[in-house]
């Protein structure tokens, strides 16, 4: 995408999002659902940084998402902190989670990294599930939405939405800046050939660790805002199924693209909201979506649009991390195990 068309598209998308509180009643959508899209997109972006750009199967990001939600929930419930502090505690909890798990996850690559992420992520699920006295266990925990400190206002749904939108736009710009920085380029290089990057004298473990911490913090931010949005935290937020949903949204929108996470989260969250009111069989639709996406649509929506604009050429051009997700991109079986 040229710089100018990207600017135009971005401006249009942000303008539409800014009008969402007025548009959503027209299609009978609650504005809190659109808020949910944005906070979910943050978690999808966090998975995208690891899997889409760095090539590490990020099947544990729900753990950081849930740590964010529980961090916010527990700090509000037991310490009556204000909104901003609750969000910061959530992010910090996720960051600490990343700091603890990182050294273990870094030991392996490829599918093994995915397995370790799934397995270690479950620890937090069981902690939330078991310590009923503190976390409410399986039933989850309610907590009131705290006021924002300086202005002493408890945000209602529309104003909450604008806050989430502002946070999302800042994160999107930050995300774009990171993946286009030399640091982000190095992550892409690691994805393509880690051995070669190491031979160039770079400590790839350190790059991956930093990417993991950024990813965890971002997922934690999404989780904390999600918790404050629904005023509730529950163990299934931490479960590996949720991690799988994040990865699905990433593929659906376009892995290795800046906007793909938003598109994927939008389709998933809105689709779930609509379909589950029509039929109780949402899970079958979801499963079929997994199968269809993986088999028939691995580049995702944004990725496919980008490929079309380039005339279908499959290149590993500078801005096209997504090409690696093409069905025809060859990969050696068992690579990086």
């Amino acid at each position: 995408m040229t710089a100018r068309s990207e600017l135009i598209v971005s401006a249009v998308v942000v303008a539409v999002l800014a009008c969402a509180p007025f548009l959503s009643p027209l299609v009978h959508l609650d504005i809190s659902i659109v808020s949910e899209v944005l906070v979910t997109a943050l978690a999808v972006m966090s998975a995208n940084l690891l899997l889409g750009y760095t090539g590490l199967p990020a099947f544990g990001n729900a753990a950081y998402f849930g740590l964010g939600a529980y961090g916010a929930a527990l700090s509000v419930k037991y310490f009556n902190v204000d909104f901003v502090v609750a969000v910061l505690v959530g992010m910090l909890a996720a960051l600490v989670g990343g700091l603890i798990l990182g050294p273990f996850l870094l030991r392996r690559r490829g599918i093994y990294f995915g397995l370790l992420s799934i397995a270690f992520g479950q620890v937090f699920y069981f902690i939330a599930y078991r310590y009923t006295d503190v976390t409410g266990g399986e039933d989850g925990m309610n907590f009131p939405r705290p006021p924002i400190g300086i202005i002493h206002v408890v945000l209602r749904e529309a104003s909450f939405y604008y806050l989430v939108l502002a946070v999302f736009v800042v994160c999107l710009i930050a995300f774009r800046t990171v993946v286009r920085s030399p640091f982000g380029r190095t992550l892409v290089a690691i994805r393509q050939n880690e051995t070669r990057v190491r031979y160039l004298g770079l400590n790839t473990d350190r790059f991956i660790f930093v990417a993991l911490l950024i990813s965890a913090t971002m997922a934690g931010l999404g989780g904390a805002l999600f918790g404050l949005l629904i005023n509730f935290a529950y163990p299934l937020e931490l479960d590996w199924h949720q991690s799988g949903y994040f990865v699905l949204m990433m593929i659906l929108g376009g892995a290795g693209t800046v906007w793909g996470s938003l598109v994927g989260a939008f389709i998933y969250v809105i689709g779930k909201d609509i379909i589950s009111t029509i039929t109780p069989l949402w899970q079958i639709f979801l499963g079929a979506l997994f199968v269809a996406c993986v088999l028939g649509f691995p580049r995702g929506i944004v990725g496919s649009i980008q490929a079309l604009r380039r005339g279908g050429a499959q290149t590993f051009a500078d801005d096209d991390v997504n090409a690696a997700f093409d069905a025809n991109a060859p990969v050696e079986i068992g690579r990086g195990v």
Binding site: L116, A119, F120, F126, Y131, G244, C293, V294, P298, G334
Partner: protein
């Protein structure tokens, strides 16, 4: 408390044998094709439900124990050919996602067919009693499970190390291209290997249904411990999966007895410790079975 220790240790071993056999199936599939089969638990559940339906229609438990896994193998091979095979040439996480989707569909379908709650599936009367072991009594069915799982694992080890087909399979894990160049049909190899993993899951599924209960999610409950078993034992090591499974079974049953609050988390702590000491797992080598 010390009186509880011996039965609890035995329970841990039986549970560990389950983890081991599920892990071996996962590991077989993962090793040859790089596929993490998230639907493994669904195949187990399916075998359990099929056995339940067969017994309900009057067949004997023994027939169901063999027939149900075989039907599931057929389902598994169809899934392998139609859905998993196109993904072999792609990055491994695609097959993980795809099989995850399959498990979601399967769970809902089981719910539609057999109801959302658990169904009772009890072992045959011949296995219902207890056996006096001198220092304690132990349910016959659990002893039977242990024996059956040991026989299954020994049969697999024999197949992999003593038959031509098994040797080809292990050779293919090391170098698929070379074995194809030497004239082996690797597509058949993939299908049989997948079927073998599913067969083990099927056997474990029927037996687990009798011991741990049968519900739309019951197989998935064994999936996570099996993953941890693969990580602890080391990918590609049959022996490692056995040792890993038994270790986890013991860890879980002992923590259930002494520190119940930590019973779920114990295997993850074990996994963390093993990873720190041996990143490839206890017996992990690069992709060699046997």
């Amino acid at each position: 408390m010390i009186h509880d220790l011996a039965p609890q240790l035995f329970n841990g071993l039986v549970l560990g044998a389950f983890y081991a056999i599920v892990a071996i199936g996962l590991s077989l599939i993962m090793n040859l094709t790089g596929t993490i089969n998230m639907a493994h638990g669904s195949f187990m559940t399916l075998a359990g439900y099929l056995a339940y339906s067969l017994v309900l229609r009057g067949t004997s438990f023994w027939f169901a124990l063999i027939a149900a896994p075989l039907i599931v193998v057929v389902v598994g091979i169809v899934v392998e050919r139609a859905l998993v095979r196109p993904l072999y040439k792609r990055e491994p996480f695609y097959s993980l996602l795809m099989t995850f989707g399959l498990s979601l569909i399967a769970e809902e379908v089981y719910r539609l067919i057999w109801g959302p709650n658990g169904v009772p599936f009890s072992p045959p009367p011949a296995l219902n009693g207890t056996v006096a072991l001198g220092f304690m009594n132990f349910p016959t069915f659990r002893i039977f499970i242990a024996v059956a799982l040991i026989i299954a694992i020994l049969a697999l080890a024999f197949f992999l190390t003593r038959t031509r087909f098994g040797l080809r399979l292990r050779a293919a894990v090391q170098d698929t291209e070379m074995i194809a160049a030497l004239g082996t049909n690797t597509q058949v190899l993939y299908a049989v290997n997948f079927g073998l993993g599913i067969f083990l899951a099927g056997i474990a599924g029927v037996l687990a249904a009798g011991m741990l209960g049968l519900s739309p999610t019951s197989g998935n409950a064994l999936l996570m411990p099996a993953f941890v078993t693969v990580i602890i034992g080391g990918m590609g090591s049959l022996f490692g999966s056995i040792v890993g499974g038994l270790l986890i079974g013991m860890a879980i049953s002992l923590t259930t007895l002494f520190i119940p609050a930590a019973s779920e988390v114990s295997m993850y702590i074990l996994m963390a410790v093993v990873l720190l000491v041996r990143p490839r797992g206890l017996f992990g080598e690069e992709g060699i079975f046997g």
